[in-house]
């Protein structure tokens, strides 16, 4: 029997907000009835880690099997990549993409959707360059998408609707100006389309459907009943922010009052419940069509989102705590020996590429990916000794599943960027610019293709190594670096082993002070 694959990403879904992962928990009992019922039939992965962050680097891991952050940041599919939809359709498998993730359509992110037989793009999320009217959107919402009028220093002003520069937050207020009902919002449209697609496409012999929900990503702007589900505040109070800037919660432009932070957390929880309810419609469609019997369904997230944990908000320049890096993963497979069980083996985002290829029956090079299929089918219990994760040009982090080790970089040493494109290594969303100092050559270990190589600024996250025992201390409150030197040395050696295994550039060792 052929196997279909339904692969669902829920952006920014912090696993500690989910009942399925109760070891940390939050102040709300976040309603996720549908993720819970899906988890009952799925293998639930307890030790799954992000790889390259943030959004588009994670997509290149999933769709091309490339652990990219050692070589380049946010950017396009490369000519030497082979995407899942390209490989699948070449073997006669129907491919479909459903998303409201507008980054696929911005500067520097091409190549990810073009290979699908069909794609549905739900417009309008975050900065999506969609609506141009009303010129002057709702003032209360404009206040909420910055910091609200109740910011600690009352210092934030609403975005200027007359400013036509890139990435003006007034864009979001325009995009949602005509939204009246819950069904007008983004996750409802994405999952409703997906449910219908599952119902309508059972005549095809085999399919791969990739669903990439931008929700639960900010802005945390919600319809009722979700907006009031976890707060007694008036969710349309212009004093309350629904789109905080990234950074420290106690200073600078990202500063939040206690009241604001509580509200933001309530809206994040509400967004999870909204996504869950509409995701349930997809589960209903799988029930009605009987597609469970021949379909693998994987649900994961690219990363989490800080909401006050460790004093940070967003995806800031913070140490790579597990809030961001330790991600949820559930996989249903009709023939899986491990269905309904917990899997504690260490796994990594990039592994989904090889898994999906294997389950579709497509033979191709897995590059940096290691298929999870042997785990799912009970053929083995262990999977990998290390998982590397991080942002390009910043710290490099490793876990063995028991400890996490966060290794700082030397900010004074520039980082090397490798790509066939001269993307903006630091300004991902802005128009590209020539890199006049770039040189070309065969610099990558996994392709003979020449690429550009140039240097630009590195950015640090912390000055000293950090070490956490995430088995006993899942919230990472007790930094053991300098105390447990045996484990620190062990994890540092593991980091070097992992980098050597991937044939990381020599410059990485210099900027990280590793040998």
């Amino acid at each position: 029997m052929t196997t279909n694959v339904l692969f669902v990403s829920i952006d920014s879904l912090s696993r500690h907000f989910l009942d399925v992962y109760p070891e940390i928990g939050v102040e709300f009992d976040v309603e996720t009835d549908n993720l819970d019922r899906f988890a009952e039939r799925a293998a639930v992965f307890d030790t799954h880690y992000a790889g390259s962050l943030p959004c588009m680097p994670a997509r290149r891991e999933w769709l091309t099997g490339t652990r990219e952050f050692l070589w380049r940041p946010w950017g396009p599919v490369e000519p030497f990549d082979h995407t899942l939809p390209e490989l699948a359709r070449n073997q006669g498998i129907l491919t479909q993409f459903v998303t409201d993730h507008y980054h696929y359509f911005q500067h520097g992110s091409h190549g990810y959707y073009e290979d699908f037989n069909g794609f549905e793009f739900v417009r309008g999320h975050e900065f999506d360059a969609w609506q141009t009217t009303p010129r002057y959107p709702d003032e209360a919402l404009l206040a909420q998408v910055t910091m609200g009028d109740d910011a600690p220093d009352a210092h934030q002003s609403a975005p200027d609707p007359d400013n036509l520069g890139f990435m003006n937050r007034a864009q979001y207020a325009r995009n949602v100006a005509d939204f009246a009902d819950e069904s007008d919002f983004f996750a409802p449209k994405v999952f409703d389309f997906t449910a219908e697609w599952v119902r309508d496409n059972d005549e095809w012999d085999q399919w791969f459907c990739y669903v990439d929900s931008f929700d639960v990503h900010e802005p945390f702007h919600l319809p009722e009943p979700y907006a009031s589900m976890y707060t007694d505040e008036d969710p349309r109070d212009p004093d309350l922010v629904n789109w905080p800037y990234y950074g420290r919660v106690d200073r600078g432009q990202s500063e939040l009052s206690d009241r604001q932070l509580e509200f933001v957390r309530s809206q994040f929880a509400g967004k999870i419940t909204m996504v869950d309810r509409w995701f349930g419609r997809v589960l209903d469609a799988l029930d009605e069509t009987g597609a469970w019997e021949d379909t693998m369904v994987a649900v994961t997230a690219d990363h989490g989102h800080f909401l006050g944990e460790h004093g940070w908000v967003g995806k800031p320049q913070a140490p790579m705590y597990d809030v961001l890096a330790h991600t949820p993963l559930f996989v249903h497979h009709p023939d899986a020996a491990r269905a309904g069980e917990r899997i504690d083996a260490l796994t990594s985002a990039v592994d989904l590429y090889g898994t999906i290829l294997d389950e579709l029956g497509v033979e191709a090079d897995h590059r940096h990916s290691r298929s999870l299929s042997p785990l799912l089918h009970g053929e083995r219990d262990d999977h990998r000794d290390w998982a590397l994760y991080g942002y390009w040009g910043s710290s490099v982090n490793v876990t063995n599943g028991e400890y996490t080790y966060l290794h700082p970089c030397d900010e004074s040493v520039d980082a090397e960027c490798y790509s066939t494109e001269m993307m903006n290594a630091l300004g991902w969303f802005q128009p590209r610019e020539p890199e006049y100092d770039a040189e070309a050559g065969q610099f990558l270990p996994y392709t003979e293709s020449p690429v550009w190589r140039w240097e630009t600024y590195a950015s640090g996250r912390h000055d000293d190594p950090m070490l956490f025992d995430v088995t006993d201390d899942p919230e990472q409150e007790d930094d053991l670096a300098g105390e447990d030197t045996e484990q620190e040395d062990r994890l540092r050696s593991l980091l070097v082993d992992a980098m050597e295994s991937l044939d990381a550039p020599a410059s990485q060792y210099e900027r990280l002070g590793l040998s």
Partner: protein, 98 residues
């Protein structure tokens, strides 16, 4: 008196980055109250990989001072308004040069 001056990594040239790093190292902070009276500013100087001000960053030089966007024709002008002398040899317009 400014309390926090934030700048975007992409928005500054090498000289200004070095200057801001040096000024930031001299400024008093909760962690280092031993800074002497010669510090040019009491503000905490914070480098960010991205301040989510991409449109303003693309257009020109900016700082975020106590949460408020400040733009000018150069970082030297912006810093002078907060009592910080510019770095030697900083060009008039240096944003987007990296």
């Amino acid at each position: 008196m400014a309390e926090t001056i934030e700048y975007c990594l992409r928005n500054v040239g090498g000289e200004t980055r070095e200057r801001l790093t040096a000024v930031g190292a001299d400024a008093p902070s909760d962690d280092d109250a031993a800074t002497g009276p010669d510090a040019e500013t009491d503000a905490e100087i914070v480098e960010r990989r991205c301040l989510q001000r991409c449109g303003d960053c693309y257009r020109g030089d900016f700082l975020v001072v106590d949460g408020t966007l400040e733009t000018a024709d150069s970082h030297a002008t912006l810093l002078a308004a907060h009592g910080v002398a510019p770095a030697d040899g900083v060009p008039e317009r240096e944003a987007s040069d990296r």
